[in-house]
Point group: D2
Chain length 160, copies 4
Protein backbone atom coordinates (compact mmCIF):
# COMPACT_ATOMS: atom_id res chain seq x y z
CA UNK A 1 0.00 0.00 0.00
CA UNK A 2 1.38 3.39 -0.95
CA UNK A 3 1.70 6.02 1.71
CA UNK A 4 -0.63 8.95 1.53
CA UNK A 5 0.83 12.40 1.01
CA UNK A 6 -0.11 13.18 4.60
CA UNK A 7 1.82 10.22 5.99
CA UNK A 8 4.85 11.21 3.95
CA UNK A 9 4.67 14.79 5.15
CA UNK A 10 4.42 13.60 8.76
CA UNK A 11 7.48 11.35 8.33
CA UNK A 12 9.42 14.17 6.78
CA UNK A 13 8.51 16.52 9.62
CA UNK A 14 9.61 13.92 12.17
CA UNK A 15 12.95 13.32 10.45
CA UNK A 16 13.52 17.04 10.16
CA UNK A 17 12.89 17.48 13.89
CA UNK A 18 15.34 14.69 14.76
CA UNK A 19 18.08 15.96 12.48
CA UNK A 20 17.61 19.54 13.59
CA UNK A 21 18.05 18.59 17.21
CA UNK A 22 20.94 16.16 16.82
CA UNK A 23 22.60 18.58 14.45
CA UNK A 24 23.22 21.09 17.17
CA UNK A 25 23.51 18.68 20.09
CA UNK A 26 25.95 16.33 18.48
CA UNK A 27 27.88 18.62 16.18
CA UNK A 28 28.96 21.58 18.30
CA UNK A 29 30.60 23.49 15.44
CA UNK A 30 27.20 23.67 13.72
CA UNK A 31 26.04 25.73 16.70
CA UNK A 32 28.96 28.10 16.21
CA UNK A 33 27.91 28.50 12.59
CA UNK A 34 24.30 28.95 13.68
CA UNK A 35 23.01 26.56 11.01
CA UNK A 36 19.33 25.78 11.05
CA UNK A 37 18.07 22.93 8.86
CA UNK A 38 15.07 24.44 7.08
CA UNK A 39 13.91 21.55 4.97
CA UNK A 40 14.75 17.99 3.93
CA UNK A 41 12.49 17.25 1.06
CA UNK A 42 12.56 15.38 -2.25
CA UNK A 43 16.28 14.62 -1.90
CA UNK A 44 17.06 18.30 -1.35
CA UNK A 45 18.29 20.00 1.80
CA UNK A 46 18.05 23.65 2.78
CA UNK A 47 19.97 25.30 5.61
CA UNK A 48 19.87 28.86 6.83
CA UNK A 49 22.13 30.92 9.04
CA UNK A 50 22.28 34.54 10.10
CA UNK A 51 25.24 36.88 9.73
CA UNK A 52 26.91 37.42 13.11
CA UNK A 53 30.04 39.41 14.03
CA UNK A 54 31.82 36.12 14.83
CA UNK A 55 31.42 34.88 11.26
CA UNK A 56 33.11 37.83 9.60
CA UNK A 57 36.31 37.28 7.66
CA UNK A 58 37.00 40.88 6.68
CA UNK A 59 35.95 43.49 9.18
CA UNK A 60 36.35 46.42 6.76
CA UNK A 61 33.93 45.02 4.22
CA UNK A 62 31.86 43.05 6.75
CA UNK A 63 31.74 39.90 4.63
CA UNK A 64 31.51 36.24 5.62
CA UNK A 65 34.73 34.36 6.24
CA UNK A 66 35.37 31.90 3.42
CA UNK A 67 35.59 29.14 6.01
CA UNK A 68 32.01 29.76 7.10
CA UNK A 69 30.92 29.31 3.50
CA UNK A 70 32.86 26.07 2.98
CA UNK A 71 31.64 24.76 6.35
CA UNK A 72 27.98 25.41 5.65
CA UNK A 73 28.13 24.01 2.12
CA UNK A 74 29.88 20.86 3.36
CA UNK A 75 27.19 20.37 6.02
CA UNK A 76 24.42 20.93 3.47
CA UNK A 77 25.94 18.40 1.07
CA UNK A 78 26.26 15.91 3.93
CA UNK A 79 22.53 16.25 4.61
CA UNK A 80 21.78 15.48 0.97
CA UNK A 81 24.03 12.42 1.13
CA UNK A 82 22.16 11.39 4.28
CA UNK A 83 18.78 11.76 2.54
CA UNK A 84 19.98 9.23 -0.02
CA UNK A 85 20.83 6.57 2.58
CA UNK A 86 17.84 7.43 4.74
CA UNK A 87 15.51 6.23 1.96
CA UNK A 88 16.64 2.70 2.75
CA UNK A 89 16.24 3.10 6.50
CA UNK A 90 12.58 4.09 6.59
CA UNK A 91 10.82 2.62 9.58
CA UNK A 92 14.10 1.89 11.42
CA UNK A 93 14.63 3.17 14.97
CA UNK A 94 15.79 6.74 15.34
CA UNK A 95 19.08 5.69 16.95
CA UNK A 96 19.95 3.53 13.94
CA UNK A 97 19.18 6.41 11.59
CA UNK A 98 21.31 8.81 13.65
CA UNK A 99 24.15 6.29 13.89
CA UNK A 100 24.14 6.05 10.10
CA UNK A 101 24.04 9.83 9.82
CA UNK A 102 27.14 10.09 12.01
CA UNK A 103 29.04 7.72 9.71
CA UNK A 104 28.71 9.86 6.59
CA UNK A 105 32.11 11.30 5.80
CA UNK A 106 33.25 13.92 3.34
CA UNK A 107 35.76 12.49 0.87
CA UNK A 108 36.47 15.79 -0.84
CA UNK A 109 34.96 19.19 -1.40
CA UNK A 110 35.35 21.96 -3.95
CA UNK A 111 34.09 25.44 -3.21
CA UNK A 112 33.94 28.28 -5.76
CA UNK A 113 33.63 31.74 -4.23
CA UNK A 114 31.63 33.85 -6.67
CA UNK A 115 30.61 37.03 -4.86
CA UNK A 116 31.41 38.68 -1.50
CA UNK A 117 29.35 37.18 1.31
CA UNK A 118 27.35 40.22 2.33
CA UNK A 119 23.86 39.99 3.77
CA UNK A 120 21.88 39.59 6.97
CA UNK A 121 21.18 35.93 6.42
CA UNK A 122 22.15 33.21 3.97
CA UNK A 123 20.46 30.18 2.47
CA UNK A 124 22.33 27.02 1.44
CA UNK A 125 20.67 24.54 -0.90
CA UNK A 126 21.95 21.08 -1.76
CA UNK A 127 20.86 18.41 -4.21
CA UNK A 128 22.24 15.05 -5.33
CA UNK A 129 24.29 14.50 -8.47
CA UNK A 130 24.84 10.81 -7.83
CA UNK A 131 23.40 8.59 -5.12
CA UNK A 132 25.50 5.44 -5.01
CA UNK A 133 25.67 2.65 -2.46
CA UNK A 134 29.15 3.65 -1.39
CA UNK A 135 29.64 7.19 -2.62
CA UNK A 136 27.26 10.14 -2.96
CA UNK A 137 28.11 13.23 -4.96
CA UNK A 138 26.24 16.45 -4.24
CA UNK A 139 25.99 20.00 -5.47
CA UNK A 140 25.48 22.98 -3.19
CA UNK A 141 24.65 26.67 -3.63
CA UNK A 142 24.78 29.56 -1.19
CA UNK A 143 22.51 32.60 -1.63
CA UNK A 144 22.29 35.77 0.42
CA UNK A 145 19.08 37.57 1.47
CA UNK A 146 18.96 39.38 -1.90
CA UNK A 147 19.14 36.02 -3.69
CA UNK A 148 22.67 36.67 -5.02
CA UNK A 149 24.60 33.46 -5.66
CA UNK A 150 27.55 33.80 -3.26
CA UNK A 151 29.25 30.45 -3.72
CA UNK A 152 28.79 26.98 -5.14
CA UNK A 153 30.28 23.67 -4.15
CA UNK A 154 30.56 20.04 -5.16
CA UNK A 155 31.41 17.27 -2.74
CA UNK A 156 31.78 13.50 -2.55
CA UNK A 157 30.75 11.58 0.58
CA UNK A 158 31.16 7.99 1.75
CA UNK A 159 27.73 6.71 2.71
CA UNK A 160 28.23 3.03 3.52
CA UNK B 1 73.41 46.19 -1.25
CA UNK B 2 72.06 42.83 -0.13
CA UNK B 3 70.40 42.55 3.21
CA UNK B 4 72.14 40.61 5.94
CA UNK B 5 70.50 37.48 7.30
CA UNK B 6 69.83 39.39 10.51
CA UNK B 7 67.99 42.16 8.74
CA UNK B 8 65.87 39.63 6.90
CA UNK B 9 65.04 37.79 10.09
CA UNK B 10 64.07 41.08 11.77
CA UNK B 11 61.77 41.98 8.85
CA UNK B 12 60.18 38.57 8.93
CA UNK B 13 59.56 38.82 12.67
CA UNK B 14 57.97 42.23 12.22
CA UNK B 15 55.71 41.04 9.41
CA UNK B 16 54.72 38.01 11.45
CA UNK B 17 53.80 40.21 14.41
CA UNK B 18 51.67 42.49 12.22
CA UNK B 19 49.86 39.63 10.51
CA UNK B 20 49.31 37.78 13.78
CA UNK B 21 47.68 40.78 15.33
CA UNK B 22 45.56 41.86 12.38
CA UNK B 23 44.59 38.28 11.78
CA UNK B 24 42.61 38.10 14.97
CA UNK B 25 41.58 41.73 15.17
CA UNK B 26 40.33 42.05 11.65
CA UNK B 27 39.12 38.55 10.91
CA UNK B 28 36.86 37.57 13.82
CA UNK B 29 36.19 34.04 12.58
CA UNK B 30 39.91 33.31 12.87
CA UNK B 31 39.52 33.91 16.60
CA UNK B 32 36.69 31.38 16.72
CA UNK B 33 38.98 28.89 15.02
CA UNK B 34 41.79 29.81 17.41
CA UNK B 35 44.34 30.04 14.60
CA UNK B 36 47.80 31.21 15.53
CA UNK B 37 50.21 32.08 12.73
CA UNK B 38 53.41 30.26 13.71
CA UNK B 39 55.72 31.21 10.88
CA UNK B 40 55.86 33.03 7.55
CA UNK B 41 59.16 32.06 6.07
CA UNK B 42 60.63 31.28 2.65
CA UNK B 43 57.24 31.50 0.96
CA UNK B 44 55.76 29.00 3.43
CA UNK B 45 53.16 29.61 6.13
CA UNK B 46 52.45 27.57 9.24
CA UNK B 47 49.37 27.90 11.43
CA UNK B 48 48.46 26.07 14.58
CA UNK B 49 45.25 25.66 16.51
CA UNK B 50 44.14 23.63 19.51
CA UNK B 51 41.23 21.21 19.65
CA UNK B 52 38.32 22.76 21.56
CA UNK B 53 34.82 21.41 22.27
CA UNK B 54 33.39 24.09 19.95
CA UNK B 55 35.33 22.75 16.97
CA UNK B 56 33.97 19.21 17.17
CA UNK B 57 31.88 17.87 14.30
CA UNK B 58 31.11 14.46 15.77
CA UNK B 59 30.71 14.29 19.50
CA UNK B 60 30.84 10.47 19.68
CA UNK B 61 34.23 10.25 18.03
CA UNK B 62 35.42 13.68 19.18
CA UNK B 63 36.82 14.65 15.80
CA UNK B 64 37.21 18.02 14.14
CA UNK B 65 34.31 19.35 12.09
CA UNK B 66 35.20 19.22 8.39
CA UNK B 67 34.41 22.92 8.19
CA UNK B 68 37.16 23.74 10.68
CA UNK B 69 39.61 21.88 8.45
CA UNK B 70 38.54 23.65 5.25
CA UNK B 71 38.54 27.01 7.07
CA UNK B 72 42.06 26.63 8.45
CA UNK B 73 43.48 25.34 5.17
CA UNK B 74 41.88 28.22 3.25
CA UNK B 75 43.38 30.72 5.70
CA UNK B 76 46.81 29.07 5.46
CA UNK B 77 46.73 29.15 1.67
CA UNK B 78 45.72 32.81 1.78
CA UNK B 79 48.79 33.57 3.89
CA UNK B 80 50.99 31.88 1.30
CA UNK B 81 49.34 33.93 -1.47
CA UNK B 82 49.99 37.03 0.63
CA UNK B 83 53.68 36.12 1.04
CA UNK B 84 53.96 36.14 -2.74
CA UNK B 85 52.57 39.67 -3.13
CA UNK B 86 54.34 40.93 -0.01
CA UNK B 87 57.71 40.38 -1.71
CA UNK B 88 56.92 43.35 -3.92
CA UNK B 89 55.76 45.57 -1.06
CA UNK B 90 58.92 45.44 1.04
CA UNK B 91 59.62 48.76 2.71
CA UNK B 92 56.05 50.00 2.16
CA UNK B 93 54.00 51.30 5.11
CA UNK B 94 52.25 48.71 7.26
CA UNK B 95 48.80 50.01 6.34
CA UNK B 96 49.50 49.51 2.65
CA UNK B 97 50.65 45.96 3.29
CA UNK B 98 47.55 45.20 5.36
CA UNK B 99 45.28 46.79 2.80
CA UNK B 100 46.79 44.50 0.18
CA UNK B 101 46.40 41.51 2.50
CA UNK B 102 42.69 42.29 2.89
CA UNK B 103 42.20 42.25 -0.89
CA UNK B 104 43.39 38.69 -1.37
CA UNK B 105 40.38 36.58 -2.26
CA UNK B 106 39.88 32.85 -2.58
CA UNK B 107 38.77 31.92 -6.10
CA UNK B 108 38.28 28.25 -5.32
CA UNK B 109 39.35 25.59 -2.90
CA UNK B 110 39.57 21.81 -2.91
CA UNK B 111 39.90 19.88 0.32
CA UNK B 112 40.58 16.14 0.58
CA UNK B 113 39.75 14.61 3.94
CA UNK B 114 42.19 11.76 4.51
CA UNK B 115 41.94 10.74 8.17
CA UNK B 116 39.67 11.59 11.13
CA UNK B 117 40.68 14.86 12.78
CA UNK B 118 41.65 13.57 16.21
CA UNK B 119 44.30 15.21 18.35
CA UNK B 120 44.92 17.90 20.92
CA UNK B 121 46.34 20.35 18.44
CA UNK B 122 46.83 20.64 14.69
CA UNK B 123 49.40 22.17 12.38
CA UNK B 124 48.57 23.55 8.92
CA UNK B 125 51.33 24.13 6.42
CA UNK B 126 51.03 25.93 3.10
CA UNK B 127 53.38 26.48 0.19
CA UNK B 128 53.08 28.04 -3.26
CA UNK B 129 52.49 26.08 -6.47
CA UNK B 130 52.31 29.16 -8.67
CA UNK B 131 52.90 32.79 -7.80
CA UNK B 132 51.44 34.87 -10.60
CA UNK B 133 50.73 38.59 -10.83
CA UNK B 134 47.00 38.01 -10.81
CA UNK B 135 46.47 34.51 -9.48
CA UNK B 136 48.33 32.47 -6.87
CA UNK B 137 47.86 28.72 -6.48
CA UNK B 138 48.80 27.10 -3.19
CA UNK B 139 48.96 23.70 -1.58
CA UNK B 140 48.09 23.05 2.07
CA UNK B 141 48.45 20.15 4.50
CA UNK B 142 46.97 19.57 7.93
CA UNK B 143 48.73 17.37 10.50
CA UNK B 144 47.66 16.40 14.00
CA UNK B 145 49.91 16.23 17.08
CA UNK B 146 51.06 12.71 16.12
CA UNK B 147 52.07 14.01 12.68
CA UNK B 148 49.27 12.13 10.89
CA UNK B 149 48.26 13.78 7.63
CA UNK B 150 44.59 14.65 8.28
CA UNK B 151 43.73 16.57 5.13
CA UNK B 152 45.23 18.29 2.11
CA UNK B 153 44.00 21.18 0.03
CA UNK B 154 44.67 23.17 -3.11
CA UNK B 155 43.39 26.68 -3.66
CA UNK B 156 43.55 29.55 -6.14
CA UNK B 157 43.57 33.17 -4.97
CA UNK B 158 43.29 36.54 -6.69
CA UNK B 159 46.25 38.64 -5.59
CA UNK B 160 46.06 41.82 -7.64
CA UNK C 1 20.84 52.56 -31.55
CA UNK C 2 20.10 49.05 -30.36
CA UNK C 3 20.82 46.18 -32.64
CA UNK C 4 17.92 44.31 -34.11
CA UNK C 5 17.48 40.66 -33.25
CA UNK C 6 18.47 39.88 -36.85
CA UNK C 7 21.76 41.75 -36.55
CA UNK C 8 22.54 39.96 -33.32
CA UNK C 9 21.79 36.58 -34.82
CA UNK C 10 24.01 37.38 -37.79
CA UNK C 11 26.88 38.39 -35.52
CA UNK C 12 26.47 35.25 -33.49
CA UNK C 13 26.51 33.09 -36.60
CA UNK C 14 29.68 34.80 -37.80
CA UNK C 15 31.43 34.35 -34.47
CA UNK C 16 30.38 30.73 -34.35
CA UNK C 17 31.80 30.11 -37.83
CA UNK C 18 35.12 31.71 -36.89
CA UNK C 19 35.47 29.81 -33.64
CA UNK C 20 34.42 26.55 -35.25
CA UNK C 21 37.09 26.86 -37.89
CA UNK C 22 39.92 28.08 -35.68
CA UNK C 23 38.98 25.52 -33.10
CA UNK C 24 40.03 22.65 -35.29
CA UNK C 25 42.72 24.43 -37.27
CA UNK C 26 44.54 25.90 -34.34
CA UNK C 27 43.89 23.37 -31.63
CA UNK C 28 44.81 19.99 -33.12
CA UNK C 29 43.76 17.95 -30.07
CA UNK C 30 40.20 19.22 -30.54
CA UNK C 31 40.22 17.41 -33.89
CA UNK C 32 41.28 14.20 -32.15
CA UNK C 33 38.36 14.63 -29.77
CA UNK C 34 36.08 15.40 -32.72
CA UNK C 35 34.52 18.38 -30.93
CA UNK C 36 32.04 20.42 -32.91
CA UNK C 37 30.92 23.76 -31.46
CA UNK C 38 27.14 23.66 -31.81
CA UNK C 39 26.15 27.00 -30.38
CA UNK C 40 27.52 30.07 -28.64
CA UNK C 41 24.50 31.91 -27.44
CA UNK C 42 23.39 34.00 -24.45
CA UNK C 43 26.63 33.31 -22.59
CA UNK C 44 26.21 29.56 -23.03
CA UNK C 45 28.26 27.18 -25.15
CA UNK C 46 27.29 23.77 -26.51
CA UNK C 47 29.69 21.24 -27.99
CA UNK C 48 29.00 17.86 -29.46
CA UNK C 49 31.17 14.89 -30.30
CA UNK C 50 30.55 11.36 -31.51
CA UNK C 51 31.73 8.16 -29.84
CA UNK C 52 34.66 6.69 -31.78
CA UNK C 53 36.81 3.61 -31.05
CA UNK C 54 39.77 5.91 -30.34
CA UNK C 55 37.95 7.61 -27.47
CA UNK C 56 37.25 4.45 -25.52
CA UNK C 57 38.79 4.01 -22.08
CA UNK C 58 37.44 0.56 -21.30
CA UNK C 59 37.09 -1.77 -24.24
CA UNK C 60 35.00 -4.35 -22.34
CA UNK C 61 32.31 -1.87 -21.41
CA UNK C 62 32.86 0.41 -24.43
CA UNK C 63 32.73 3.58 -22.41
CA UNK C 64 34.41 6.95 -22.91
CA UNK C 65 37.87 7.45 -21.45
CA UNK C 66 37.68 9.81 -18.47
CA UNK C 67 40.28 11.98 -20.17
CA UNK C 68 37.96 12.59 -23.12
CA UNK C 69 35.32 13.81 -20.68
CA UNK C 70 37.67 16.16 -18.81
CA UNK C 71 39.08 17.42 -22.12
CA UNK C 72 35.70 18.24 -23.64
CA UNK C 73 34.38 19.87 -20.46
CA UNK C 74 37.52 22.02 -20.17
CA UNK C 75 37.14 23.12 -23.79
CA UNK C 76 33.45 23.91 -23.28
CA UNK C 77 34.18 25.97 -20.16
CA UNK C 78 36.89 27.83 -22.06
CA UNK C 79 34.34 28.78 -24.72
CA UNK C 80 32.06 30.19 -22.03
CA UNK C 81 34.95 32.19 -20.58
CA UNK C 82 35.65 33.45 -24.10
CA UNK C 83 32.01 34.53 -24.56
CA UNK C 84 32.42 36.73 -21.49
CA UNK C 85 35.46 38.58 -22.86
CA UNK C 86 34.10 38.63 -26.40
CA UNK C 87 31.26 40.92 -25.26
CA UNK C 88 33.81 43.68 -24.90
CA UNK C 89 35.45 43.02 -28.26
CA UNK C 90 32.40 43.42 -30.47
CA UNK C 91 33.26 45.08 -33.74
CA UNK C 92 36.99 44.36 -33.36
CA UNK C 93 38.90 42.60 -36.15
CA UNK C 94 38.69 38.82 -36.23
CA UNK C 95 42.41 38.41 -35.60
CA UNK C 96 42.19 40.42 -32.40
CA UNK C 97 39.26 38.31 -31.21
CA UNK C 98 41.13 35.10 -31.99
CA UNK C 99 44.29 36.38 -30.34
CA UNK C 100 42.28 37.02 -27.20
CA UNK C 101 40.68 33.59 -27.45
CA UNK C 102 44.12 31.99 -27.57
CA UNK C 103 45.15 33.75 -24.36
CA UNK C 104 42.39 32.25 -22.23
CA UNK C 105 44.00 29.78 -19.86
CA UNK C 106 42.55 27.22 -17.50
CA UNK C 107 43.59 27.91 -13.92
CA UNK C 108 41.98 24.79 -12.49
CA UNK C 109 39.31 22.27 -13.25
CA UNK C 110 37.19 19.85 -11.23
CA UNK C 111 35.40 16.99 -12.93
CA UNK C 112 32.86 14.71 -11.24
CA UNK C 113 32.21 11.45 -13.06
CA UNK C 114 28.60 10.49 -12.40
CA UNK C 115 27.67 7.72 -14.83
CA UNK C 116 29.53 5.52 -17.34
CA UNK C 117 30.09 7.33 -20.64
CA UNK C 118 28.04 5.14 -22.95
CA UNK C 119 26.30 6.46 -26.04
CA UNK C 120 26.72 7.19 -29.72
CA UNK C 121 27.18 10.89 -29.22
CA UNK C 122 27.57 13.34 -26.35
CA UNK C 123 26.58 16.92 -25.70
CA UNK C 124 28.54 19.26 -23.44
CA UNK C 125 26.94 22.42 -22.15
CA UNK C 126 28.66 25.24 -20.31
CA UNK C 127 27.46 28.39 -18.60
CA UNK C 128 29.09 31.14 -16.54
CA UNK C 129 29.09 31.26 -12.75
CA UNK C 130 31.20 34.41 -12.56
CA UNK C 131 32.42 36.68 -15.34
CA UNK C 132 35.19 38.82 -13.90
CA UNK C 133 37.73 41.07 -15.60
CA UNK C 134 40.58 38.75 -14.67
CA UNK C 135 38.99 35.43 -13.81
CA UNK C 136 35.94 33.60 -15.16
CA UNK C 137 34.35 30.65 -13.40
CA UNK C 138 32.19 28.28 -15.38
CA UNK C 139 30.04 25.21 -14.90
CA UNK C 140 29.83 22.38 -17.43
CA UNK C 141 27.64 19.32 -17.93
CA UNK C 142 28.01 16.31 -20.21
CA UNK C 143 24.98 14.39 -21.45
CA UNK C 144 24.78 11.31 -23.64
CA UNK C 145 22.31 10.70 -26.47
CA UNK C 146 19.69 9.46 -23.96
CA UNK C 147 20.07 12.70 -21.99
CA UNK C 148 21.76 10.95 -19.04
CA UNK C 149 24.00 13.29 -17.07
CA UNK C 150 27.43 11.63 -17.46
CA UNK C 151 29.67 14.16 -15.75
CA UNK C 152 29.79 17.70 -14.44
CA UNK C 153 32.66 20.11 -14.04
CA UNK C 154 33.63 23.48 -12.65
CA UNK C 155 36.60 25.46 -13.86
CA UNK C 156 38.35 28.80 -13.39
CA UNK C 157 40.00 30.60 -16.32
CA UNK C 158 42.25 33.64 -16.66
CA UNK C 159 40.66 35.96 -19.20
CA UNK C 160 42.81 39.11 -19.17
CA UNK D 1 58.76 -16.69 4.58
CA UNK D 2 59.50 -13.19 3.33
CA UNK D 3 60.13 -12.69 -0.31
CA UNK D 4 63.63 -11.85 -1.40
CA UNK D 5 64.28 -8.51 -3.05
CA UNK D 6 64.86 -10.39 -6.28
CA UNK D 7 61.49 -12.09 -6.15
CA UNK D 8 59.80 -8.77 -5.49
CA UNK D 9 61.59 -7.11 -8.38
CA UNK D 10 60.59 -9.99 -10.67
CA UNK D 11 56.93 -9.68 -9.64
CA UNK D 12 57.01 -5.95 -10.19
CA UNK D 13 58.51 -6.38 -13.64
CA UNK D 14 55.83 -8.92 -14.53
CA UNK D 15 53.01 -6.68 -13.33
CA UNK D 16 54.49 -3.74 -15.19
CA UNK D 17 54.62 -5.78 -18.41
CA UNK D 18 50.98 -6.86 -18.03
CA UNK D 19 49.72 -3.36 -17.29
CA UNK D 20 51.78 -1.85 -20.07
CA UNK D 21 50.32 -4.19 -22.60
CA UNK D 22 46.70 -4.10 -21.46
CA UNK D 23 46.95 -0.38 -21.09
CA UNK D 24 47.26 0.16 -24.78
CA UNK D 25 45.29 -2.87 -25.94
CA UNK D 26 42.28 -2.31 -23.74
CA UNK D 27 42.24 1.44 -23.37
CA UNK D 28 42.49 2.85 -26.91
CA UNK D 29 42.58 6.50 -25.84
CA UNK D 30 45.82 5.80 -23.95
CA UNK D 31 47.35 4.98 -27.32
CA UNK D 32 46.19 8.34 -28.67
CA UNK D 33 47.88 10.00 -25.73
CA UNK D 34 50.97 7.84 -26.27
CA UNK D 35 51.26 7.04 -22.56
CA UNK D 36 53.97 4.60 -21.57
CA UNK D 37 53.92 3.24 -18.02
CA UNK D 38 57.52 3.65 -16.86
CA UNK D 39 57.36 2.25 -13.37
CA UNK D 40 54.98 0.88 -10.75
CA UNK D 41 56.99 0.76 -7.60
CA UNK D 42 56.51 1.33 -3.86
CA UNK D 43 52.94 2.54 -4.36
CA UNK D 44 54.08 5.11 -6.92
CA UNK D 45 53.39 5.19 -10.64
CA UNK D 46 55.31 6.98 -13.37
CA UNK D 47 54.09 7.55 -16.93
CA UNK D 48 55.79 9.21 -19.81
CA UNK D 49 54.60 10.56 -23.13
CA UNK D 50 56.15 12.49 -25.97
CA UNK D 51 54.93 15.77 -27.44
CA UNK D 52 53.22 15.16 -30.79
CA UNK D 53 51.46 17.60 -33.14
CA UNK D 54 48.14 15.90 -32.32
CA UNK D 55 48.44 16.77 -28.65
CA UNK D 56 48.81 20.51 -29.14
CA UNK D 57 46.13 22.82 -27.77
CA UNK D 58 47.57 26.10 -29.01
CA UNK D 59 49.39 25.97 -32.31
CA UNK D 60 50.95 29.44 -31.95
CA UNK D 61 52.68 28.63 -28.70
CA UNK D 62 53.00 24.90 -29.39
CA UNK D 63 51.84 23.85 -25.93
CA UNK D 64 50.00 20.77 -24.72
CA UNK D 65 46.21 20.82 -24.77
CA UNK D 66 44.88 21.03 -21.21
CA UNK D 67 42.83 17.91 -21.91
CA UNK D 68 45.99 15.90 -22.55
CA UNK D 69 47.26 16.97 -19.15
CA UNK D 70 44.06 16.09 -17.30
CA UNK D 71 43.85 12.78 -19.18
CA UNK D 72 47.39 11.70 -18.34
CA UNK D 73 47.12 12.75 -14.69
CA UNK D 74 43.83 10.86 -14.31
CA UNK D 75 45.39 7.74 -15.81
CA UNK D 76 48.43 8.04 -13.54
CA UNK D 77 46.27 8.43 -10.44
CA UNK D 78 44.23 5.41 -11.52
CA UNK D 79 47.44 3.35 -11.66
CA UNK D 80 48.28 4.39 -8.11
CA UNK D 81 44.78 3.42 -6.96
CA UNK D 82 45.29 0.08 -8.71
CA UNK D 83 48.62 -0.47 -6.93
CA UNK D 84 46.75 -0.17 -3.63
CA UNK D 85 44.21 -2.89 -4.50
CA UNK D 86 46.82 -5.03 -6.26
CA UNK D 87 48.63 -5.56 -2.93
CA UNK D 88 45.73 -7.77 -1.86
CA UNK D 89 45.65 -9.70 -5.13
CA UNK D 90 49.22 -10.98 -5.12
CA UNK D 91 49.46 -14.47 -6.53
CA UNK D 92 46.03 -14.26 -8.18
CA UNK D 93 45.62 -15.05 -11.89
CA UNK D 94 46.42 -12.26 -14.32
CA UNK D 95 42.85 -12.12 -15.62
CA UNK D 96 41.51 -11.50 -12.12
CA UNK D 97 44.02 -8.72 -11.61
CA UNK D 98 43.11 -7.12 -14.93
CA UNK D 99 39.41 -7.46 -14.24
CA UNK D 100 39.92 -5.60 -10.98
CA UNK D 101 42.00 -2.98 -12.76
CA UNK D 102 39.15 -2.38 -15.21
CA UNK D 103 36.71 -1.75 -12.36
CA UNK D 104 38.63 1.18 -10.87
CA UNK D 105 36.63 4.31 -11.55
CA UNK D 106 37.43 7.98 -11.12
CA UNK D 107 34.99 9.64 -8.73
CA UNK D 108 36.37 13.12 -9.20
CA UNK D 109 39.48 14.92 -10.32
CA UNK D 110 40.99 18.35 -9.76
CA UNK D 111 43.72 19.64 -12.04
CA UNK D 112 45.73 22.82 -11.44
CA UNK D 113 47.52 24.15 -14.51
CA UNK D 114 50.69 25.85 -13.30
CA UNK D 115 52.89 26.48 -16.34
CA UNK D 116 52.51 26.18 -20.14
CA UNK D 117 53.00 22.60 -21.32
CA UNK D 118 56.09 23.07 -23.47
CA UNK D 119 58.66 20.34 -23.96
CA UNK D 120 59.60 17.35 -26.06
CA UNK D 121 58.41 14.83 -23.50
CA UNK D 122 56.58 14.82 -20.18
CA UNK D 123 56.69 12.74 -17.03
CA UNK D 124 53.67 12.15 -14.79
CA UNK D 125 54.16 10.89 -11.26
CA UNK D 126 51.45 9.71 -8.88
CA UNK D 127 51.41 8.67 -5.25
CA UNK D 128 48.72 7.73 -2.74
CA UNK D 129 47.23 10.12 -0.19
CA UNK D 130 44.76 7.58 1.19
CA UNK D 131 44.38 3.91 0.37
CA UNK D 132 40.99 2.81 1.65
CA UNK D 133 38.97 -0.32 1.01
CA UNK D 134 36.38 1.56 -0.99
CA UNK D 135 38.00 4.83 -1.97
CA UNK D 136 41.57 5.75 -2.87
CA UNK D 137 42.79 9.35 -3.03
CA UNK D 138 45.89 10.14 -5.05
CA UNK D 139 48.11 13.06 -5.90
CA UNK D 140 49.71 13.56 -9.32
CA UNK D 141 52.36 15.84 -10.80
CA UNK D 142 53.36 16.53 -14.39
CA UNK D 143 56.89 17.62 -15.28
CA UNK D 144 58.37 18.52 -18.65
CA UNK D 145 61.81 17.51 -19.94
CA UNK D 146 63.41 20.46 -18.12
CA UNK D 147 61.83 19.27 -14.86
CA UNK D 148 59.41 22.24 -14.70
CA UNK D 149 56.25 21.43 -12.77
CA UNK D 150 53.55 21.88 -15.42
CA UNK D 151 50.46 20.78 -13.53
CA UNK D 152 49.29 18.99 -10.40
CA UNK D 153 46.18 17.00 -9.68
CA UNK D 154 44.24 15.27 -6.95
CA UNK D 155 41.70 12.54 -7.59
CA UNK D 156 39.43 10.11 -5.78
CA UNK D 157 38.79 6.60 -7.16
CA UNK D 158 36.40 3.79 -6.28
CA UNK D 159 38.47 0.66 -5.80
CA UNK D 160 36.03 -1.99 -4.56
Amino acid sequence: MRKTAEQEAAEEAKLLAIIRESFVERMPFNRILGIDVLSLHHEQAECRFAMRPDLVGNYVRNILHGGVISSVLDVTGGLVAFLGVQQKLKGKPVEEILERFARIGTIDLRIDYLRPGTGEWFLARGFPLRTGNKVAVTRMELFNDRNDLIAVGTAAYTVS
